[in-house]
């Protein structure tokens, strides 16, 4: 009996730079430099098997780019992404199967295909089943799993609501017998009551099939509900990582504190709050030192010059000020 690797994904120093320079001739004439957008800048993490790692951040922090790098839609500039092999039947080992759930259920399903065809495509393409009747039975089973009726296979995507479409996306992902799902804002296009349905379904599927999720979201309350581990991202780097429970109960990085402080909450109506001034700086010309220092109330001279590294084990924080205070 071979031992199961407890790690589903290892990312080491992954970097993705985009060249956003002006065209060559313009650069020569205006004597301007190349401009590099560091969308993801040296990010390392691991995702334990059967768990959920959430990456949280505001627009433009690089979280979606990171998701696309993991799934292989975006080549890495440098660094390494590795999926340790999983035990398969007959004593073999193979890398996990990856699938992605996209944000917009209106754009991620082919409007000209029937739902049955959409779900059957990965089964046919990967030759997971032989025989039309076996495939049809599998489609019915998958639609049942995600809470749709087998008869829905004959309908087109436009006949379904947003939440139902997201169920179809999940059924398509499960059709590959996927072990690892990368979910990029899977519920942000949905209404809250429907969002609750989809989140419950995703948690239930995780328990049932032992799925591993890499969950990308800007919504902290959704992340709170879904995650085992959490990583807060700011301008292409992780600023704080750790078990979700601890990050929420005891945020260490000033940016994490800011996010938790500013999120509007129904639990505290009409709370007086001090909104944070400033905005996310441009990733093309990030501030020197700690990229958060222009917005940070705790910033010291050192923060303006020296870039903090993620330190600590288990709980990691990239901050000169709070990491020093922390036990």
């Amino acid at each position: 009996m071979a031992e199961e690797n407890p790690i589903a994904l290892t990312v080491e120093d992954a970097t993705c730079h985009f060249d956003v320079s002006a065209p060559w001739l313009t650069r020569v004439l205006q004597q301007s430099q190349r401009r590099i957008l560091k969308a993801v800048d040296g990010v390392s993490f691991t995702v334990p098997r059967g768990k959920t790692l959430s990456i949280v951040g505001e627009s433009g922090c690089g979280k979606s780019t990171l998701a696309r790098m993991v799934i292989g839609l975006q080549p890495l500039t440098s660094g390494k992404i590795a999926f340790p092999p999983l035990a398969r039947p007959h004593g073999t080992f193979a890398p996990p199967r990856l699938q992605m759930i996209f944000q917009d259920p209106y754009a991620s399903l082919n409007p000209r295909w029937r739902v049955g065809e959409i779900v059957a495509e990965p089964i046919r393409e990967l030759k997971l089943m032989v025989g039309e009747s076996a495939i049809q039975a599998r489609i019915a089973e998958l639609l049942n799993i995600v809470g749709l009726a087998p008869a829905d296979a004959a309908r087109y995507p436009h006949e379904f609501s947003g939440g139902q479409r997201q169920r179809i996306s999940i059924a398509r992902a499960l059709a590959t017998e996927a072990d690892f799902l990368v979910c990029d804002e899977p519920t942000s296009a949905l209404d809250v009551s429907v969002q609750a349905q989809i989140l419950n379904l995703m948690r239930q599927l995780q328990d049932e099939f032992g799925l591993t999720y890499l969950f990308i979201s800007h919504n902290l309350s959704v992340v709170r509900h879904m995650s085992d581990e959490i990583a807060i991202m700011y301008l292409g780097r992780f600023v704080e990582t750790g078990p979700a429970e601890q990050v929420f109960s005891d945020p260490r990085h000033p940016y994490t504190r800011l996010l938790l402080e500013t999120i509007p909450s129904v639990e505290t109506p009409n709370r007086a709050r001090t909104p944070m001034s400033g905005e996310v700086p441009s990733p093309i010309a990030p501030p020197s030192g700690c990229p958060f220092h222009p917005r940070c109330a705790l910033a010291e001279a050192r923060c303006r010059t020296e870039r903090p590294r993620l330190t600590g084990s288990g709980r990691q924080v990239a901050c000169h000020v709070t990491a020093a205070v922390a036990p």
Binding site: S193, F248, P264, E267, N270, M276
Partner: protein, 327 residues
């Protein structure tokens, strides 16, 4: 009700869309009032009719949509039956509008100064220099740094949050009594969202304007509004002070909606979910529109439509939930 009439009074408003298959009633006897210096939050899921209510009040309903019944009064004067030219003068002068997407609500080819000055001079008898000074004042008021410089910039030179501030400045240009803000923070990041809601609150208090805040985000409502109206399938089903409605919702739908928001404090095993989805306008069930999704529905709910009570915390339900916090 005694005392001064409310600034905005919407009384049994009905909006109908004439289609090939007959008229569709999109708003069904919507009544609401907003006093000066008050923020009314209108909340609901997609298709509930919340934006349509705002659109009808601004007088921007597009055919085939039309007001089929009811009255809209601004300072006691009927505005729902005004000729288009009179309504156009009213809009911008007495009613300011803020829309969801700050990029598409600004002209990309004109500087924000040109847009502000045009709006100011349309509504106020000022010469160009005075209008420019007024525009700079407005930009200062909405918190744009270095307004004397920024006034000559184009919209693309502003970030999303700053653009939304410009849109708010535009809405304030005619010194309106009423501001209709339709999802003003939805396109923004949480930290920026907090800045914009705080700004809206400040403007409402300082200028004594009435604000109608339309959003799907219960958190934003809870933090910003004084009173809230919850809409479902074209009707207001619950209305009251924001504390009362969020802490002790009386309508089963509001209760379900509140419970389906993931909590920031604890990680629940599963979220409360309301099964099903909001009915389409073509298939609104008889009786209470919520009855097919309601666990407490009785025979009466299936045939007889409940009316909104005349109470400060009113609900349209035959079996309202007794007081006490949800969950």
């Amino acid at each position: 009700m005694s005392g001064a009439p409310p600034l905005l009074a919407v009384d049994h408003l009905e909006v109908v869309f004439d289609t090939r298959h007959g008229p569709l009633r999109a708003l069904d006897h919507v009544s609401l009032e907003i006093s000066a210096g008050e923020i009314l939050g209108v909340v609901g899921e997609s298709g509930a009719g919340k934006s349509l209510t705002g659109t009808a009040i601004i007088g921007l309903l597009d055919p085939p949509g039309r007001i089929a019944g009811g009255e809209i009064r601004l300072n006691g004067q009927r505005i729902d039956n005004l000729p288009p030219e009179a309504m156009r003068k009213l809009r911008g002068k007495r009613i300011g509008a803020i829309f969801q997407d700050p990029l598409t609500s600004l002209h990309p080819m004109l500087t924000i100064g040109e847009q502000l000055i045009e709006t100011i001079r349309t509504h106020l008898p000022l010469d160009a220099a005075a209008a420019r000074a007024r525009a700079i004042d407005l930009l200062t008021e909405v918190g744009i740094p270095a307004p004397e410089v920024r006034i000559d910039h184009h919209p693309h030179q502003f970030s999303g949050g700053m653009r939304q501030r410009v849109v708010i400045a535009l809405a304030l240009a005619g010194e309106p009594d009423l501001i209709v803000a339709d999802e003003p923070t939805t396109a923004l990041d949480v930290s920026i969202q907090a800045q914009i809601t705080t700004l809206l609150k400040r403007i409402c208090r300082e200028r004594g304007a009435a604000v109608m805040l339309v959003t799907h985000d219960m958190g934003v409502i809870a933090e910003t509004a004084d009173r809230v109206a919850v809409m479902y399938a074209g009707r207001i089903i619950e209305t009251g002070p924001v504390e009362a409605v969020t802490r002790a919702p009386r309508h089963p739908y509001t209760r379900g909606l509140m419970a389906s928001i993931p909590s920031m404090r604890v990680r629940e095993a599963s979220l409360h979910q309301i099964d099903g989805a909001m009915p389409r306008l073509t298939a609104i069930p008889p009786g209470c529109a919520f009855n097919p999704r309601c666990l407490g529905a009785s025979a009466r709910c299936r045939v007889e439509k409940p009316m909104l009570e005349a109470l400060p915390h009113a609900v349209a339900c035959w079996h309202p939930v007794a007081g006490g916090p949800h969950g």
